[in-house]
Symmetry: D2
């Protein structure tokens, strides 16, 4: 993880600005001979794509991905497969609406990265947020679509579990509902409520935050590279690195602070297949930075969009007090579109650690359930 | 951050097990000609050191650090200084109490890393937790003591702000109180209460979690390497990678999810010295993954120690159901000793990014407050 | 340096196959506010471009580079400048001549990477050498063009100093001659001879090797990161990693093995500007892995193209003995086009270490010529 | 490879100065459950150890290595094994002879790293060369001893093939002779000659260079990570990074420059076991940066020690012309002791790439000798 490259062995390097010619990434380290078609990537990009409901920005971007390298197909491969060489994924920008940027060119919008990019680099492509735009996350979703194919049997799913102060009712959790509403919400009742709630937020020119939960199932036990590339540490970096994220939890997260030791620790029993089973999952599938084999559960908080219609106090680039209003196309709740992004980042971390584990320990299980080992 | 190395340019590699000969680390990439005496490191180790009150484990470890390389002193250097070469810090283990490990040798303690280390590696030094022991964190504190000296004017301080369900009263926050109680608690009233509360927990054979807050002041604006080595992403990894941590927040953290956009974004004004000032700090000093120049505020949740006296259901290494009781010396609230560790990790991230920023942008400020730039 | 990424801080990740849609790279870590136009990159690509004389492959590739991200221009920047974000450089493949690959599809050409790619990955894009094609080196030349702009005052020049058994006469070395012949040869007399010599090689259907020398002037003293990122070690990797390179030397290289200690060590004197000068440069500008301030001199040997018209014994993919003839468009001496590639790799290493040095030591010189330091 | 860490997945970080308390390294990423005793490391250190004949420095260092972490032994492991955690190897310095350094403290010895370390860092531990001393290479040999155990069936052997201008006669090559003379020379006749030759060099107060060849057998085909972590590029960095090395070759190296294409490319035939065999090994076991399965052959040139008794012109730290004579204990031919070091570096690169390959491609062979793949 350095600069614009994510990952150790399964790694991707992203590029592009919101209003430049294109965005995309180079995925490196992917195992060879994995079947891969652009359509498999596109399905995930389509979930993140803006302009699909009145609750996300009205920018119209098809986000059509092209695989520019790293795959091959002939009559011996039986369809297009990865070759082990870098996979370049290109997404051309289409709707870089020509607009007047004179306002935000020189004024810093509170809560935006424009100020810090300018302080750091002394120059920035301010159009639409430039490199700091959430548009960059399309590259992550594309890379994540490849990552999903690396760990056999892996399933990574995300859901919005809170919008503003309103949490879902977990007793109504139904994964099938996630695709039935524009919020990726697993609780159909609360999803209905979110419609009117977010309409109100949107019409008032304001915005609101959210909490997203990502669950990974089918994760083999043993993934993680202690002590400083612990699986939970890497997930925390992956999720905190998503635009606008301000908090990350694994398992019971901050609630563990109020728990007693005997309530927090997940007890074990031998299951029907003679493998250990856990009687609960407060740990969120990770102990000591290594996966337990249970579902990995991570949550992250997304702050409200700072691009709002209400005027805010700020300064300009030349040292003057001023006010700013954001007029562009924006999301009243950016947390919604963070769901497929969170899934992608979790998938990338797991694929990376799957390869890291295979490197150090090999493919055979190290599982110790045998006397004499 | 990979395996046992932390950091990009300012990096340390730690080694050692709880009951082995020694623990320590090699600090690499440290700038040359920084005055450095072992005593400066020892002062931080002493804060983390066990056995200082009845509220931490009774293991007696002096944690005396030796600088084995990377420093030099002659009449031209005016005292011992770093040379730019690797600094090896050695802490010998003293109190590896000889005890009977037959119980935990084969039984997995719920909530412990023993199970996952065994699943991953097929072997482990189980004595006292081996490599997964919190003892490893002494190496982090030692490295952090050096990191603190790299960023001019940097101050990194931590405090315990919640124990179990009991939060401190922030209106009583007094940094001077932190060293006046065994909890690193900045609220003297709550600190008093924690004494009796934790005595009760301890005597009941149970344990309890905590929340720690770390505040870094004097951080230059502009630190952070977007997009995948964002300052907040790196802090999240650093803190989530501390033993027993299950959640991390920057600034208002999870509370931002319930905020409206206009309440969350920190407004700006030009201050008396013609530099921008922020009117609030919901962002915790980071925007777009880059420091704003405000105080950086991070919080993390520490789960309750899973080593408790009460018997728990578990399995053994050979596939049998069984029960386990942890008899060793343990902390009723491991969160307490996490305070100096959290400080150290934050200091290491900031030192690392100070060097990373200097590499890419140079020493002169890129600050744009001048017409024509 | 891992997989398809080169460099630590100034780093580029290349992608693309010989006969795919495009090749290119993402340059990351570039300092901001460096003026950069595509034409500055194109001039170097044009030197490497095939089909410019009868002595290089007749493939017709314009190698037109597009800067797809990482630059910005408005009335405040005074022309296009880098922004500190990833610079994606795209070179579309134009002349992927449709041909019959049935022969090389299944037969391994001796001396080619086709065999090892197949053994490693079990699949490959064999068209034109795929990822192992020298075509990938265009990405290096493009990245190198940016690297050249990072170290102030840096000049990196290369020359062909030997073709087959024929060395140049160093007493006739004239940098101005390098661009006056199709061989990048600094000796005009030998360049004339090379014409007829290589014509003979070409017409005989054979090929021949070469030795290239790269000289970097204006390198500040102090660059290099001992012990395992020594400047010479990194140059060795950079040059040995160019296709078909089998040997690398710094300074007097293998000749130092036959020298006596007093002949090899470069003596020093204080020069007119009170700075030390060296009385010779056997070391090639590097001592202990750190630049001395003298010119850095590196040489590398390029093996003869293995793609030749004469039939060779080989095996096919299915375990049968067979023969193979390479019919495609090829270079009779690939070493020629290695000159701009060698320059690029040296420039990238120096830019990278310039940033690495600035990170650890800062911008001020650490030069100790002052009593009391 | 950065600063003082070598390797990607199998990596070691070395520390220590020539006349400090200790030297050593932390080996990270080693697979678990590999039997490992200190004695297995010691046998290689003993080969590199100084003071074993009149042809190496008379410094008396036992170079006794202690394994401080990362191994475990109980009745289930059947002897001491690696645990997958960091292995710290400690070698205490014993013979840091107290001497008068006033001469070299301020004067730069021509050909030494003292000048460049001072220019870079502004300070250095000059005693015995400090960090730039060949003493650091003991850490490499120790790490290499572990690396040798990672690749099943791997054999890495080195030999001195040239001293000064005198090459060995390859027709007399006998690996068994290497341990029968103080030069690691496989040609017993030439070894005899070297005795008198080097005695003459030593008595004249001069020094001489050498060429070392390292041969690795049992290397699986398919190792190497193109394009920028090619196996040959990594070997080049590993060997060029050894103190005093100025040139590196793979296979026929610089001789390939004078070869014709048909002479250089190694032809293939199907062998008796239905696996491909090569009819020659000009490539030195590597094509396209990936191992072919043949023996890997690398050579490197070691310059003559610059520490000689004859006075040399130089400057001092304060800007004055002066002369310097090196009086300490030194090697008349440092190339001799470079043999075990070269072996170690090659073993480390191969172990690293063995793990890297396993990560990306898995343990099963990707060998394509089957119709339909």
């Amino acid at each position: 993880m350095s600069f614009n490259t994510f990952g150790h062995l399964f790694r991707f390097t992203s590029f592009g600005e919101s209003h430049g010619a294109a965005i995309g990434c180079v995925v490196d380290g992917c195992p060879p001979r994995i079947p891969l078609e652009a359509a498999e990537i596109q399905v995930h990009l389509d979930k993140r794509r803006p302009g699909q409901s009145r609750f996300t920005t009205q920018r119209q971007e098809p986000d059509a991905v092209k695989i520019m390298s790293g795959v091959f197909s002939d009559d011996r491969t039986g369809g297009q497969v990865t070759t082990g060489t870098p996979i370049m994924l290109l997404i051309e920008n289409v709707d870089q609406r020509s607009k007047d940027y004179s306002d935000i060119r020189d004024k810093y919008r509170p809560g935006h990265a424009g100020y810090t990019y300018d302080v750091k680099y002394g120059v920035q492509d301010y159009r639409g947020g430039g490199r700091a735009s959430a548009r960059e996350t399309a590259a992550r979703v594309a890379a994540g679509a490849i990552a999903r194919k690396i760990v056999p049997g892996l399933s990574v799913r995300g859901a919005l579990v809170q919008m503003g102060p309103h949490k879902i009712d977990r007793s109504r959790w139904d994964w099938n509902e996630v695709d039935n509403n524009p919020f990726f919400c697993p609780d159909p009742v609360q999803a209905k409520f979110f419609e009117s709630y977010l309409d109100g937020v949107r019409k008032s020119g304001s915005s609101v935050g959210a909490v997203i939960e990502v669950v990974a199932e089918g994760v083999p036990a043993g993934l993680g590279a202690p002590v400083y590339a612990k699986l939970d540490a890497e997930l925390a970096a992956a999720l905190m690195g998503i635009n606008a994220v301000k908090g990350v939890e694994i398992g019971d997260g901050f609630d563990t602070a109020i728990m007693a030791g005997e309530d927090n620790a997940d007890e074990m029993r031998i299951g029907n297949d003679n493998k250990p089973v856990f009687l609960s999952n407060h740990a969120g599938g990770i102990l000591g930075g290594i996966s337990t084999g249970q579902a990995i559960v991570a949550r992250f908080a997304v702050k409200p969009t700072s691009s709002i219609l209400n005027p805010r106090k700020t300064v300009d680039r030349y040292g003057n007090d001023t006010e700013v209003v954001t007029k562009g196309r924006h999301d009243p709740c950016v947390g919604i579109r963070a769901v497929p992004i969170g899934e992608a980042m979790v998938a990338c971390v797991l694929a990376d650690h799957y390869l890291m584990h295979r490197a150090q320990v090999g493919e055979g299980t190290a599982w110790p359930f045998a006397p004499g080992r």
